[in-house]
C-alpha cells in the first residue's frame, strides 16, 4: 500500500533521513518540477519530499478517479496518504497556489503530522462573492475551461520540441519537458473546477500551526488583497510580500522564496 502510494504520486525524497520533513506541493497546471530551484536548497538539512498529484506530471493517471478528485479533499487525501506512507512527523508543508488550501485541508485531516505551513500565493476562493474579492467572475472560470479546450490540440504535441543541449542553462531536459505542465485535458478541467470553484475561507480560522504566507507582487491569480485576507484569518500567521512578480516565485525568484522560507523555519 505504502509503496503503491509512492509510485502513484511519483514521490521523490531527498535529504537526510532524520531531517525535519518538508513536503512540497505543486499547484494547478504543473508538477513537482516547479520546485526544481527551491527544494535542493533545503535538501542539505531537511528531508525534502516532492510529488505529483494524481493526474499531474508523472503520477499514475490510471489512479485518477473523477469522484475522489471532484473537490480539493481528494488532493488533500493524496497528501495525507503520502505522509502516512512515509510516516512523516513534524512536517513542514509548502504549498504553491491551490496547494495552499489543499495543505490546510490535509493539516486538518491528518492529526498533528503537519506542524508548519508555508503558503505561496494562497487564495481561499478565486471567485468574487459579495464583498469578498477573489479576483475572478464565474465567466472567467468558464473562460479558463474554454482555454484548456482551445489548447487541447496544441498541448498534445507542442511541448515536445527538442531542447537544444546547453549545459549552462537550468532548463528541463527533454525527457522532463515531455511531461511538464502537461496532463490529460479532461483531468485538467476537473482540477480547474475543483480549484477555482472551491471556497476554503472558513478553513482558515481552523488553522492552528505556524503559517507563513508568501505573497508575490502583482499576482493576477492571487492578488495581494487575497493574501492579506488569508493572513488576517489565520491566527498568528506571518505575511511576507516578495519582490518577485507573477504567480510562480518558486520559478522566477527561487532565492528570494527560499530565503523567506528559511527565515520562517528557523522560528517555526
Amino acid at each position: 500500500m505504502a509503496r503503491d502510494v509512492l509510485l502513484r504520486n511519483n514521490v521523490t525524497v531527498d535529504g537526510p533521513a532524520d531531517g525535519r520533513p518538508i513536503v512540497f506541493a505543486h499547484g494547478f497546471g504543473c508538477d513537482q518540477n516547479m520546485w526544481r530551484f527551491v527544494a535542493p536548497k533545503f535538501a542539505g538539512e531537511y528531508r525534502t519530499v516532492l510529488f505529483d498529484y494524481v493526474g499531474a506530471g508523472r503520477s499514475d493517471a490510471s489512479a485518477y478517479d473523477v469522484d475522489r478528485y471532484r473537490t480539493l479533499d481528494g488532493y488533500a487525501q493524496d497528501v495525507v496518504e503520502i505522509m502516512d506512507a512515509l510516516d512523516l512527523r513534524d512536517v513542514v508543508f509548502v504549498g504553491h497556489s491551490v496547494s495552499s488550501m489543499i495543505g490546510i485541508r490535509a493539516a486538518l485531516q491528518s492529526g498533528d503530522r503537519i506542524t508548519a505551513l508555508v503558503l505561496i500565493g494562497p487564495s481561499p476562493r478565486y471567485v468574487n462573492d459579495g464583498d469578498y474579492v477573489g479576483g475572478f467572475a464565474d465567466a472567467d472560470i468558464e473562460g479558463l475551461l474554454a482555454s484548456l479546450d482551445s489548447n487541447y490540440l496544441g498541448w498534445s504535441t507542442q511541448m515536445a520540441p527538442v531542447i537544444m543541449a546547453n549545459p549552462g542553462r537550468p532548463e528541463l531536459g527533454a525527457e522532463l519537458t515531455a511531461s511538464f505542465c502537461r496532463a490529460d485535458p479532461e483531468i485538467q478541467k476537473h482540477f480547474a473546477r475543483a480549484t477555482f470553484l472551491a471556497d476554503n475561507r472558513d478553513d482558515l480560522l481552523r488553522v492552528r500551526v505556524p503559517t507563513l504566507i508568501l505573497q508575490c507582487s502583482e499576482d493576477v491569480i492571487a492578488p495581494e488583497a487575497v493574501g492579506r485576507f488569508v493572513s488576517e484569518h489565520i491566527a498568528g500567521s506571518t505575511f511576507v510580500r516578495l519582490r518577485a512578480t507573477g504567480h510562480c516565485p518558486n520559478l522566477s525568484a527561487p532565492e528570494e522564496t527560499a530565503d523567506a522560507m528559511s527565515e520562517f523555519l528557523t522560528s517555526a
Partner: protein, 432 residues
Amino acid sequence: MTNGGQLVGGQSGDAFYGALAEDDAEELYDNAPCAYLSTLTDGTIIKVNQTFLAWSGYERHSLVGHTRFRDLLAPGDRIFYETHVGPALLMQGTVREIAVELVAASGKRLPVLVNSVLKRDADGNAVAIRTALFDATERRSYERELVVAKERAQEAAAHARTLAQTLQATFLPYEIPSIPDLEIAGAYRAAGDGSVVGGDFYDVFEIRPDTWGMVLGDVCGKGAAAAVVASLARNTVRVEALRASAPSAVLTRLHEVLRRYHPDEFCTAVFVCIERVDERIRLTVACGGHPLPIRRRVDASTELVGTPGSLVGMVKETRYTDVTVVLHAGEALVLHTDGVTEARRGADFFGDTRLRALVAATPGPAQAIADAVVSAAVEFQGGDTRDDIAVVALVAGSAVAADDGGSLCDGSDVAAGRDVGNERAKGRHVLQ
C-alpha cells in the same frame, strides 16, 4: 546573379534592389505579417511592432513600460497563461502555438497563436521574452468546430457503449432461479471497453418443478449481427427446452432455427438439463462446438463432462450427444466460453491446463469460482480483453448425496458419450 542586366528570375536589377531596400530589418520588424512584442521576464512590454498595434488598436505609449502581456489576454486565458504557459516558458525557454484571445482596445477579442522564446544574456540570465503572435481567427473557429465534433464523437461513443451494455445485459439472466441444494452463479466481462456488444450469452430458467434448463453460448462475431443471433439463440433455447425431449434436441432445434433465419451465422453452445431426483442433482449435458464443462470433485480432481458436438448453425449434419452425471455434495460444474481459454499473453494462451488448475484450486462458493475464472482470464491478458468472457458455476450443496444413486446415472453415458440420435435411450425423457 545578373545575366546581361537581367536577374536570373527575369526581374530587372533596379526592381530587385529597390524592393530589398524597402524590406530592411526595421521595416520588416514593424510591418511583418505577424505581431511581435518583447517583454521583461515579468511580462512588462518593452517593444511592440506596428502590426501588433494595428491588430490590437492600442497606442504604443499606452503599452510600452506599463502593460504586461498577460493583461491583454481574456481572463480565462490569463489564468491558463499564468498557470501553464509562464512556468513552461521559464522552465523550457520556449513555448509554441499557445492558443489565446487578445482583448483589443475596442474590447473585441482576437484569437491568436503565441510563440515565445526566453532571451538570455551572456551569463545565462533570463532578460527578456520575445513573442510572435499570429492571427488565428479562422483556424480557431475551425478548431472549435473540431472540438465540438470531438465532443459529439465522445458522446456518440458513450451512447454506443451504453447501448452495447444494455443490449449485452439482455443476454444474461436478470435473476438466476433458486434451486434447492444447488448454487448457481455467473460472471461476465465484455471485450475491451465494452463499447461493442459481444456474442456470449447464458441463461438459467425453470422448465417445470424440479427441472431447470441452463445454456451458455457464444455467437461467432461481435456487434449488432452477433447480438441479433445471441438474442434469438437465447429465446429459442427457452422455447425449445419446454418441448424438447433432451438437451441434444434443444441444440438440434437451435441449429435448425439458425440455419433457417441466419444461414451466415453460427454459434457454440452447451445446454444442461438440471433435475432434482431423489435429493440428488442430476445433470444432462449436450455440447455443440463448445468447450466441455469442467467437473470439480471434492478431492480437487477435475474432469471434462460431455461429448464434443457440431457447431450450431454451421454444417448441414449435426451430432449432439447427451451425457448424464450426478453432482455429489460439494462438487462443482464450471461452464465457460472460449474467452477464458483463448485469453492471450503474447504467444501464450490461458489454455485448458491453467483453467483446470484454477478450478481445482477454487472449491467454491459458486460465485467465487465464476469470479476467479473471469478475473484470472482478464488478468492474464493484462486487463485488455480481446473477447468477451462468460462463466457459470454450479456447486452442489452439502445436503445432496455423495453418490450416484444407483440407476440415476448410467455410467456408460459419461464413459462412452453414447450418441443417441437426439433421443434418450431407455425411454428416459429428461425434459418431458
